[in-house]
């Protein structure tokens, strides 16, 4: 079995659009600003300032938030850029992505497989389809789902950079059996390798269906309040 992958690729988000997930959670003088969005790292840096100023103005936040917001964005972008020069592991890597989030009144739980090496993948498109198929009306859910996917992809991509570095260091020792190398090299778990082999089918078994099925719940106001309270307690 051939291990897939071309030569190493420079680090970037493994999606069709190279957008970085940015999460903001700033507390100041009793006010809290929480946000999550995607940022295009090739935008000029003054855009951050523009964005921060507009956000403060639109949400009527105290002016101190302005510096905090821009600083936070800057540091997250800097982290991203720090990885940019390095090589990323390329090779098929199918990972499970889990969704477990609440957006206003909608609760979503889901799990699915994502190929990290598929540079044509599009979390936004996936989120749009999900919301449309499940009849989700709240327009904030889609972007939140896409963001959650992106965050996880980002984490794993960062991991793959470090693993690529490690593998380069330990290049001298040859790998073991073919089977092992196939799964290691291709980043698949052993079960998946077996699934995709000649004998078995790619149709999922019954027992796994529940896990991989998306679930959407609409919460009542009381439930929302209860959940929010719980989250606040966890945050502190």
């Amino acid at each position: 079995m051939k291990a897939s992958g071309k030569g190493p690729v420079k680090f970037r988000m493994p999606t069709a659009e190279n957008l970085v997930p940015i999460r903001l959670d700033i507390q100041f003088e009793g006010q809290r600003y929480k946000d999550a969005f995607t940022w295009n790292p090739s935008d000029p840096d003054n855009e951050i300032v523009v964005f921060a100023r507009r956000t403060v103005k639109d949400l009527k936040l105290p002016p101190a938030f302005f510096t905090q917001i821009s600083q936070s964005i800057q540091s997250q972008l800097a982290d991203f850029r720090a990885y940019e020069g390095q090589d990323m592991y390329t090779g098929e890597k199918i990972i499970p992505i889990k969704l477990d989030l609440r957006v206003n009144h909608t609760l979503i739980k889901d799990q699915f497989l994502w190929d990290l090496n598929n540079f044509e993948s599009d979390p936004e498109e996936f989120a749009r389809t999900l919301c449309k198929d499940l009849g989700v009306e709240d327009p904030e859910v889609g972007p939140a789902v896409a963001f959650a996917i992106r965050e996880q992809l980002y984490e794993i991509a960062v991991q793959s950079v470090s693993s690529a570095r490690e593998s380069r260091l330990s290049k001298k020792s040859r790998r073991g059996s073919d089977y092992g190398s196939a799964s290691k090299a291709s980043g698949l778990s052993m079960d998946l390798v077996k699934l995709f082999s000649f004998k078995s089918s790619v149709v999922r078994k019954w027992k796994d269906l529940d896990v991989y099925e998306p679930m959407v719940d609409l919460l009542t106001n009381e439930e929302v309040d209860a959940l929010e309270a719980r989250e606040e307690r966890h945050a502190r």
Partner: protein, 525 residues
């Protein structure tokens, strides 16, 4: 257009005709191209088998309940693999109508593989009261047959402005009279006040305005007098546009130039007035000034050679033609062409040439009234010119004929040129037709000869074959006779052998040989 599976026992599923390439058992070229990653053997998870499983599963799942639209989310939980890739397969199947190929329902809100047509405005746009002049564009819903409906868009206001052209009339600041925007008026340099022509001339400039404040804005259209003035001044001043603009007082320089170009013969006036290629041909007296006649000769010389090679359409299309003429002049090969014109004109009979000339002039006359008038009044000069040419047929001097054609000096340039052009064209056409007829007749003759020869060949071949057949028949007869005799011999031998009964040891051999005989002969007693 739909294709359906025919078997009555199976369920009927409709897929569009453009997807009839699909087969269950195999993967088609279209699929291979679209999903090259499955067929490149570069990964464990992407193999043809996997692709086929995905595809078959999705289609089967859809067909479990083909009245309901299958969503991607409902299917992806069943299949292991990268969800983006699964989505790609799903979209591919949907676009080709292999799944979710639903009939339209009455409520019109069902989504299909084609674009959804909504009635009314989209949700995100608020409709405000529109001014009366603006009409919104409405799209009628799709027709059942999925044929392209005939969309009728009501025209936008900008369209009607541009194409039906409602130009605002000018209102004079002083007298308040309206005039069309084509006519000349005077515009105040500092304010927006405008005065009509009459008021300006009368001296009513309005309060505190002096005549200097007003700038003449020329009218867009040319009156007869202005055109006449222009022509006269061009003949008088030649290339000097400032003087011409002065004499044609109501028009600017640029206007004059453009108007002249538009006039059918204007190009020639301009070309000749630059004074190139002055010929030394003597001119006879003229009612006009002597210099115009020279110029007129010039133009005629230019025009003849140039018009030779131009088509009629280019005559009307002045600006590009003008450049062509410049190129021609620089070549300097005019004399040979002129000779050709003269030669052709004499070859053809005079009546033909006259008729052709008349017809051509009538056609070419349609452009402007000015040249038309001159044509009407001086039509007899054409005949005159042609007759002169005819009368001089005897002389072989081409130069003279040239001169003679230029005889009537008081003709305007355009007329003479057209006459010669028409003559040349007519003559050439007639001659060509005669030649063509001749050629055709010759060709027919030759073809007939060829056919004759072929027939003769066939006949002799047939004769030969007949002869052969006769010989073969004779041979056949002989063979038949030989066969008969041999058979008789055999029969007699057998009879003798069986009859005598003394040849027991010969019996097996005879039987064997008789078996042979019965093989290839017909009857034995």
């Amino acid at each position: 257009m739909e294709v359906s599976t025919k078997d009555a026992e199976l369920e009927l599923y409709t897929i569009p005709a453009h997807s009839s390439w699909f087969v269950w058992e195999d993967i088609h070229e279209i699929e291979r191209r679209e999903f090259a990653e499955f067929f490149s053997e570069s990964s464990i998870t992407r193999t043809p088998k996997v692709y086929k499983e995905y595809r078959d599963f999705i289609i089967n799942k859809y067909r479990e309940d083909s009245s309901k639209r299958l969503t991607f989310t409902s299917i992806r939980k069943y299949l292991v693999g990268d969800v983006n890739l699964l989505r790609k397969v799903f979209l591919f199947l949907e676009n080709w109508g292999l799944i979710n190929y639903l009939k339209r329902s009455d409520d019109g809100s069902m989504e299909e593989s084609e674009a959804k047509v909504e009635q009314g405005t989209p949700a995100g746009i608020r409709v405000t009261a529109t001014p009366l002049s603006m009409r919104s564009v409405t799209v009628p819903p799709l027709v059942e047959e999925r044929a392209e409906p005939a969309f009728k868009f009501s025209p936008l206001t900008s369209y009607s402005d541009v194409f039906t052209g409602s130009k605002k009339p000018l209102v004079c600041g002083h007298c308040g009279g309206e005039s069309s925007c084509d006519s000349a008026f005077y515009q105040h340099t500092k304010s927006i006040v405008s005065l009509c022509d009459k008021c300006f001339k009368n001296g009513d400039y309005g309060e505190n305005n002096s005549p200097d404040d007003f700038k003449l804005i020329a009218a867009a259209s040319w009156t007869e007098e202005e055109t006449l003035l222009l022509l006269e001044s061009v003949l008088k001043h030649g290339d000097d546009w400032d003087l011409i603009a002065q004499s044609v007082s109501t028009k600017s320089r640029l206007d004059c130039i453009s108007k002249l170009i538009e006039l059918p013969f204007g190009e020639f006036l301009m070309g000749s007035s630059s004074g190139r290629l002055r010929s030394s041909i003597p001119t006879s007296e003229d009612e006009n000034l002597s210099s115009p006649s020279n110029l007129v000769d010039q133009m005629k010389a230019d025009g003849q050679e140039q018009k030779e090679t131009e088509t009629r359409e280019e005559n009307e299309d002045e600006p590009p033609a003008k450049r062509k003429r410049v190129a021609m002049l620089s070549d300097g090969g005019d004399s040979s062409l002129m000779k050709q014109v003269a030669a052709m004109a004499c070859k053809v009979g005079p009546s033909v040439a006259t008729a052709a000339a008349k017809a051509a002039i009538a056609a070419l006359c349609d452009e402007a009234s000015c040249p038309k008038d001159t044509f009407e009044t001086t039509c007899d000069f054409t005949d005159f010119a042609v007759d002169r040419a005819d009368g001089d047929k005897g002389t072989s001097d081409m130069e003279e004929q040239q001169e003679d054609k230029e005889g009537p000096q008081d003709l305007p340039v355009a007329l003479r040129m057209r006459a010669s052009v028409a003559t040349a064209l007519g003559a050439a056409a007639a001659h060509a037709k005669i030649l063509a007829d001749q050629e055709e007749r010759e060709m027919e003759q030759l073809a007939a000869i060829i056919i004759d020869q072929q027939l003769k060949k066939m006949k002799s071949k047939l004769k030969f074959l007949d002869h052969l057949e006769l010989i073969m028949d004779a041979e056949e007869q002989v063979m038949e006779g030989v066969k008969e005799t041999i058979l008789q011999e055999r029969i007699s031998v057998l009879q003798f052998a069986f009859g005598s009964d003394g040849f027991h040891h010969l019996l097996p051999k005879l039987l064997f040989s008789s078996a042979m005989v019965t093989e290839w002969s017909v009857a034995t007693p």
